[in-house]
Amino acid sequence: MSTEELLVRVDQTRCVGTGQCARTAPDDLALGPNGRAYPRNPHATDRDLLTEAAELCPVEALSVHLAATGEQIAPAD
């Protein structure tokens, strides 16, 4: 399961730049010069770290999806 391709979406309107996600999953997320998070790679694979990053975001600006189907896997409903 862990090699499935994932898609990370950042809602830049919601993002308040806490940097939690970039520190949790630094390979896949970073804070841009505008102080908002952005996905570093078109596709990612580290489901555990990205799930944690999405669940830790204090404003839920971050969601993780299966690239193949678009199904949201984090944060869980």
Binding site: T18, G19, Q20, G35, P58, V59, E60
Partner: protein, 400 residues
Amino acid sequence: MTVEQSQAPAGGPLIPLHCLLHAEPGPPRLAALPTGTPVWVVTRHADVRQALTDPRLDRASLYAPDAPQVTLVPNLLDAPDTLLNIDGPEHQALRRTVQRAFTPRAIERWRPWVASVVEDLLDGVAAAGSPADVVATFTRPLPVQVISRLMGLDNHDLSRLSHWSDHALSATAYTAEEIQQAMQEFGAFGYQLVTERRKAPGDDLVSSLVLAADETGGATEMQLTMLVIGLVVAGHETTMTTLGNALVYLLDENREGWARIGADPAAAVQATEQALRTIPLGDRSTAPGLLRRANADLEIGGVTIPAGSVVAADPSSANHDPAVYPEGIDLFAPLGTPSLTFGAGPHHCLGAWLARMELELGLHGLARRFPELRLTEPTDRITWRTGLLTRSPLTLGVAW
């Protein structure tokens, strides 16, 4: 519960918070703190956001040995080793320990319970009859009961917690000695609580923080203690303040809004966001914004801020920046750009979603149950709680 009243300043009635004038947003400009320390005041929305998210501005340097004095009488916010006053990876580790309990989803699980606290308090208000003091019967007990239940403090003396919370955010109401004494007692209480919950954990927030900290090693005993007492303070002060000041505005100036908030829970959600944006927590008499210090040279809004400078990022003026928001208060307009009331960056308010939920449910419940609620006195007769970092009505007479 008791709230100690402090001396009202001489010279006429204070104006309600929603009527305060805001600094005209513009480039950062140099001013002085009450201590005389020079401070760069940042007022535009984009600049305030940058100041709060830029790692070259931090909290810990405000308390470094070479730092200038930023407060006349230090209080809990000036204590080192707290979540507020550490930065970078150390802050990240501690914040992660507590963040899980405060995400929108985690807070959402408390909704039925917060709603039942609201309903119980409203039953009490109705039973006691008109007129009433809506602060004593509603705006103060609501957040206190919610945080007490979240933290498993129901069996504790809540008046002691209120006493300590008042001292924790004192600006001029208490002497340095009084604050120090109260903070020592408060710290001892927090430490004892941490120790108790470690021995016999429950399903409360303190127990889950202790467990998470022990598992991850993300917090020292001192940090954990400060975190616990910080939660008590946060749960006491800011939500009560916003709720009280929102009622002053709604009941005095916006009867139509009151009716709509009572009729429609979704309208209460929008009104909460707009009230949070437009009604400040206090007069900013201790500092013209959220303080940071530059650990390197940086540029904000076209102005170079040299390393070592103190910066005040002012969410109140940013929240009224005409470049981002239309003038005036339209309670039911979508916000568009998020307001900066809860800050931004690594120190973004931990309790934002809990505060929102209490405000939404509190305003909706009160307006639904008492659509005819009105103030019994004009707003220039309001007695305010002063000398604290926040300002809100000490009592607020209402009738229906």
